[in-house]
Symmetry: C2
Subunit: 375 residues, 2 copies
């Protein structure tokens, strides 16, 4: 069965960059109703290039939800267990949004534009409707809307070199998870040191979609000697880096504790938030399952269409893999999956059921080591 081609219509929102980014893209997906290129050369070739050079990514699909008004901060706090009380203009914070059951609605980066003005730069679910619904239902005094702001990203070790040619300020002024406002190609941009890779880089938030192609071309022109290529979030890199994908590694049916996102916040923040009771209950009793890293020797296992069932320590099939791929650098598969919370010790053997047969592997630590208590 051949994979169908993507059909376009107005329902798939137009990225300001697509006239450039779709050229050379061999595969694409739809993310937040926007087309996301997902492959250019090959997964491995794109991976090595990303680790060595710099890529330009059309991540317009990472759309914004703007929250503005007197109750903006209180509403933002209400959305997440992460404490936002100290957030300040120019700061980005990664924060899981949860529902009344502590289920993960989305895992945006929150940008504080002003004390009463925020963007949620979102993964793939209609956070606009979620936040609007909550605000309308509970009577928060805010405006919640889509500001038509679309990011383009540069990622890779040469990102600083590239950005330094585009803005007057030293790039070191932009700390990790911070942003500045600057002009590039005559266009006002928010530029953040963020991005969905482990190789470092920046995201440029463009507020004038008509300037997309000009901005893209300006970035490309500044990089002639940097071996820049168009790219996209890379499965190998993002799994190796431990970046979770909403919809793949966690859904509304998962909570932040089992997904390990509680490393981004402390329980017990002062401000009120939806799902507090449910989340505190899970924190008290412990989650029933936990997301872990896995290594599986060999090659040939492709990322699951849904999940792959997994047996833990030779027992029953009580776990499942959500994302996996072959890492050419480590010469084995790297994966993410859920295992029962009492079976998540590093080194525990696991057996994967894949379309190409059974595969044996182990639970790994955050450095992909499988020796228990490795230093």
């Amino acid at each position: 069965m051949t994979t169908p081609r993507l059909s376009f219509s107005r329902r798939l929102r137009k990225s300001p960059f697509e006239a450039r980014s779709h050229a050379g893209a061999t595969a694409a997906s739809v993310y937040n109703h926007v087309v996301l290129p997902t492959a250019y050369a090959s997964l491995e070739e794109d991976y090595w290039h990303l680790r060595e050079h710099v890529q330009i990514w059309d991540v317009a699909c990472q759309v914004q939800v703007e929250v503005q008004g007197p109750d903006a901060l209180r509403l933002m706090e209400y959305l997440t267990p992460r404490d936002l009380s100290q957030i300040e203009p120019g700061q980005c914070m990664y924060a899981p949004l949860v529902d009344e059951n502590a289920g993960i609605v989305n895992d945006p980066i929150i940008l504080c534009l002003a004390p009463d003005r925020f963007w949620l730069s979102i993964s793939d679910s209609d956070v606009l409707l979620w936040v609007k619904g909550l605000a309308a239902g509970a009577g928060f005094n805010v405006r919640v809307f889509d500001p038509d702001v679309f990011p383009v990203s540069i990622q890779g070790p040469k990102s600083d070199a590239l950005l330094s040619r585009l803005i007057a300020r030293p790039t070191a002024d932009i700390r990790r998870f911070r942003f500045i406002e600057a002009e590039v190609a005559g266009t006002h941009l928010v530029i953040a040191r963020t991005g969905w890779s482990g190789q470092g880089g920046f995201e440029f938030y463009l507020g004038d979609p008509a300037k997309g192609v000009e901005l893209w071309d300006t970035i490309v022109a500044a990089a002639t000697d940097l071996n820049l290529r168009p790219g996209c979030p890379n499965l190998i890199d993002r799994i190796e880096t431990g970046l979770l994908s909403h919809g793949n590694d966690m859904t509304l049916l998962n909570n932040p504790i089992e997904a390990g996102l509680d490393r981004f916040f402390k329980m017990g923040k002062k401000a009120d938030y939806l799902g507090r009771d449910a989340l505190e209950q899970i924190a008290r009793t412990g989650p029933s399952q936990r997301l872990v890293r896995l290594t599986v020797p060999g090659s040939g296992i492709t990322n699951p269409r849904d999940t792959y069932p997994m047996a833990i320590a030779g027992g029953e099939q009580t776990g499942y893999v959500t994302s996996i791929c072959y890492s050419p650098r480590m010469d084995c598969h790297v994966g993410l999956g859920y295992v029962p919370a009492d079976c998540c010790t590093v080194g525990t053997p696991i057996t994967l059921l894949t379309p190409v047969g059974k595969a044996e592997g182990q639970i790994a630590d955050e450095h992909w080591r499988t020796e228990p208590n490795a230093k």
Copy 2:
């Protein structure tokens, strides 16, 4: 530039029917995070076949949002300007959902399963988050969740003949926009006389995804002499029928009056609903623009990626086309678009700006006639 192929992962929810429906599909889109096949043979061939025979459609992407509990009806009423007070179990109602500005959030078919239990069978936006947000914010006493129910549809003039072979009851028992519960292939189904074509048919709501392939095969096996084919919502048929597509012909930025959806409800319903003030204001002053049907002689204009600008009666470009295609039956283009409310008389000349040049056409009535006051 070639169109990229669609890449799959767990983030795109699995249709229970995809093992069958993706075979032979040459193009696909993503709708409610589910893959929707969008072409099999060709648009025109699929169209003629749909008008003459019967097709089986994988419309699992038309996912359900279930609302259940003591406040279920009150919340359902709160979502839409359409009066639901007389809805009864077994009934389907098409109803626009609106936000506080009367912007269209979605245009689902509402199925009343019990006086305190409803499904919203939705178009492409996360109504689950919208309704959950409103319910959590305003404290409605309901459970709002995704029941994992996926529709497969049979559409075309031979649909009754096909269904009569699958269920014991006479198909005439199922009136338009009504449903029954029945067993097919040993699986409990909700079967409604609904569907997104102008050729008649039924939608089968499957609650056990593991039975998808068996159900598909049972339907196909019952149709050996009916010239059944896999198909999908057909652009030509749906425009000719005047079926609006959320995301294409209306978005959150449109209200139901300008989109002409007010023909499905009367203003002034008794129950409280969000957006009432905004909608009543629009009803009083009249909308600034209106969605109209358009005919454009000739052929060769393809459906827009975004919209095509449109000049009205030789004037300025103040309108835009949202959907258009060539109708082989009428031998001209049929389209939908917005024009200023004071320029929407049938017969008004319009000029379209398309990638293949200017094209002259006219505003048509609901039977695609362009003679003013035609009988």
